[in-house]
């Protein structure tokens, strides 16, 4: 019934340590490449939060013989795209070009990885642009709520800041910081390069190997991320936005590692709680009560425990009610687990979404990149749907009780304190912060 298989990947390890993978895809004349460099936001030095993401953004601002403007022009001229961003664990460089432009694609990509300019002028520009983006983000209540929430669940931890950084830390970043970070982390030693597209796989490996051969080893090891500590007790934080007519709400805490042995049952359990549109949270909070337009629960698995969070929003007057209903649903869920019907539906839903979500070449490349980055078995996704099928009601009950912490949850609300604070205080002590 499952039947999904990743395409056959040819692979090779280069003398400099980079691992290359290539699989053919001939439905459209496209080539997608994903490179994963083994350092992201969690490797930002203290006081330089935002550095990994800034370096990622700078890689294509001039590289090889081309200054920034010429590089953008070369890529845009053929309708190609190439960019990079950091997440907590790593930095992804992605490229998508028409197959007829494969040579140019590989030339630009190898320049960006091996010979980025990182010019002073570009660093200054990137710093100013990031500061402007951080300021503009303050107008986005949902984004701000999520960022504040992450800070709260990871106090004094490398995961405890947005990869975009903070205004003070970004302002402090110098070109020397950028160069040092690039030299220590944008190295082939543990990097992964995955290509999926309209090419011959064996020939593609040869071409990638030739282009990436001059990439020199770094030698150092990436900063190890310590395990985060769970919160001791439930806490309520209100970030005051005096003009808000709607409250953004985040409830959650520490979730799971990508390599967690319970990854599959936790994923199934979360789908039942707040994954699809027929999940408990959506049915109870949106469909039955009309309190919100959207609610979901999500897990972001990382090398160490990533966040688990329920996200929703509601008008000022129903803020407390929405939180109460949501907490009640999570508590009931932890006590009772799921029904057979819910489990069956969640499995079918995951299976269908999986097939739909793995049609595009970049999705196939990303699946292989994930396997390589987290050292999962190479045939991981060929067995994945069988593992989903094997999850039992007992599995769900067990992980629901243990892995969806609500009594130690951080409850973060971004909204208008003058209207909602009193009401929130009926739930427990509230810490109020400025936006």
């Amino acid at each position: 019934m499952s039947g999904f298989r990743l395409p056959e990947f040819a692979s090779r390890r280069l003398p400099n340590g980079a691992r290359l993978y290539a699989a053919e895809y001939h439905a459209l004349p496209l080539v997608d490449i994903e490179v994963i460099l083994p350092a992201g936001g969690s490797s930002d030095p203290l006081g330089r939060e935002g550095l990994a993401d800034m370096v990622a953004g700078l890689l294509h601002k001039g590289a090889g013989a081309r200054p920034a403007r010429e590089l953008a022009e070369a890529m845009d001229f053929v309708g190609g795209s190439l960019g990079a961003a950091a997440d907590q664990d790593g930095t992804r460089v992605t490229a998508e070009f028409l197959a007829q432009d494969l040579d140019l694609c590989l030339e630009l990509l190898s320049d960006v990885l091996i010979r980025p300019g990182l010019a002073e002028e570009e660093v200054e520009r990137a710093r100013a642009e990031t500061l402007a983006e951080l300021q503009a983000a303050r107008e986005n209540p949902g984004l701000m709520a999520s960022r504040r929430f992450v800070e709260r669940i990871y106090p004094d931890h490398p995961y405890g800041h947005a990869t975009a950084g903070r205004e003070a830390s970004v302002a402090a970043i110098t070109r020397e910081d950028v160069l040092a970070f690039y030299r220590s982390t944008a190295v082939p030693d543990r990097s992964i390069v995955v290509a999926v597209g309209d090419f011959d796989a064996a020939g593609m490996l040869d071409r990638m190997a030739q282009r990436l051969a001059p990439w020199e080893r770094g030698g150092g090891a990436p900063r190890a991320v310590p395990p985060p500590r769970p919160a001791a007790a439930r806490r309520i934080v209100l970030v005051d936005k005096p003009d808000a007519t709607q409250s953004q709400i985040r409830i959650g805490g520490l979730g799971m590692k990508r390599t967690d042995k319970d990854f599959v049952p936790i994923h199934v359990a979360n789908t039942i709680l707040g994954g699809g549109f027929t999940s408990r949270l959506v049915q109870e909070v949106r469909v039955k009560r009309g309190l919100t337009y959207g609610i979901s629960s999500r897990l972001y698995p990382l090398v160490e425990q990533g966040p688990f969070l329920v996200s929703t929003f509601t008008k000022n007057a129903t803020t407390r009610e929405t939180i109460e209903v949501t907490l009640g649903l999570i508590d009931a869920w932890r006590r009772e687990g799921a029904t057979a019907d819910e489990l069956d539906k969640a499995k079918r839903y995951i299976r269908g979404k999986f097939a739909v979500g793995h049609q595009a070449p970049e999705a196939l490349a990303d699946a292989m990149g994930e396997i390589a980055f987290y050292d999962l078995p190479e045939d991981y996704y060929n067995n994945y749907l069988d593992w989903i099928d094997a999850v039992t009601l007992d599995d769900v009950r067990r992980v629901a009780a243990l892995r969806f912490p609500s009594d130690q949850a951080v409850i973060l609300v971004l909204g208008r304190a003058s209207e909602i604070l009193k009401d929130l205080e009926t739930l427990g002590p509230v810490t109020v912060e400025a936006l």
Binding site: G3, L28, P29, L30, A68, R69, A72, E73, M75, D76, F77, V78, G79, E96, L98, R125, A128, E129, L131, A132, E133, Q135, A136, R138, E139, N140, P141, G142, P242, D243, T245, Q246, G276, F277, T278, Q283, R286, V287, G290, L291, T292, Y293, F313, T314, K315, N316, A317, D344, K345, R348, Y349, G352, K353, A355, V356, H358, Q359, A360, P361, E419
Partner: protein
Amino acid sequence: MMTNLPIQRHILANGLTLLILPEHTAPTVCYLTYFRVGSRNERPGITGISHLFEHMMFNGSAKFAPREFDRLVESSGGSSNGSTWYDYTNYVEEVSSENLETVVDLESDRMRSLLITPGNLEQERSIVKEERRLRTDNSTEGKLFEVLTSNAFVASAYRWPIVGWEPDLNAIGLQDCQDYFRTYYAPNNALVVIVGDVMAERALKLMERYFADLPAQAPPRAVVDAEPEQRGEKRVIHRMAAELPAVMAGYKAVAFRHDDYAALDVIRSILSDGESSRLYRTLIYEKQIAAETSAFFPPTLDAGLFVLHAQAKEGIAIEQVESEMHGVVERIAAGEVTERELRKAKNQIRASAIRELKDNAGKADRIAFHELMTGDYRQMFHTLERAEKVSLEDVARVASRCFQPDRRTVATLVPGERPEPEAEES
């Protein structure tokens, strides 16, 4: 490019248009319905009913109790969604291919016998108002766009927001919904596209079995585009809590089917596709005066707006940003575009057209969109030819016609002033 897609087109006896494309790369199927109705078909007093109605479509029909729709779709390994636009409302389901019949059954039943009850209406009204708060009232860009369009147009049905004015959302009644459903959700006002792991004959048989008994209705009243010619710049200021000032300029442009559409789409690409585009290069990279900038020109049935947007960087006067932004389009009208820039725009439009075909949903959407906008899905292949034929003379001619100060509306967001508290319902 891809002009050989084996698409079959059928018109059922009741007028329902059906397009089928077998595609066997994944064991899934995408079922997409477009109704030829959107906010353009509304009138003052019931603005937002199209979008509100999209929400009501998931709340049960004769054979299926409320909430069954999503439960059955997700149990079929699928997901569903709907969206509302000026000119159309669409619904999409993607399910495992063996479950196509379940979707056909669900879709035909709600088109035949949707439950329209006071309870459903009240619940969705409240959810839609929450959506409006999210996307418009608490979003500076959403709000500024609403201010721009409602000031730019005088008579066009594009002058009210798709989500509707809040007092109208409060006023829409059950009878409005019933009339709306009968008129606009009739089979002769719908088109269905099926793309995926199915045999075309089986899909056609299923559709005939489940849809043949739905009666056609009188065609809806035609929409008149009565927008008078604009002869003078309009300027409007909107004050709201915001970090940075921003400006949007909307130029009266043309409909998707107009001969000048292709040239304007090329201009849109020159202005804002990628970091070598003119707006990014000028406002963000070289002059470093904007935090964000973009141009958008959505395809529409009636003449729409060509919109430029920029958010000032901290400490930069919005007047300076606006003047540089106008300068960028004036230079295009003055004939500064090069042969290479034109080639680049065409390459970008072609590459993005290829990208849209990566999955079943993307293919279905392109087929449905072109069938709805032009009456002929094969226009999806000609859109690229239209772009390919655009010359440098066309770019300069169309730009100087479109980008006249007398034909534009400029909306400026001024941060700071706190709005009066809104009346909140309990």
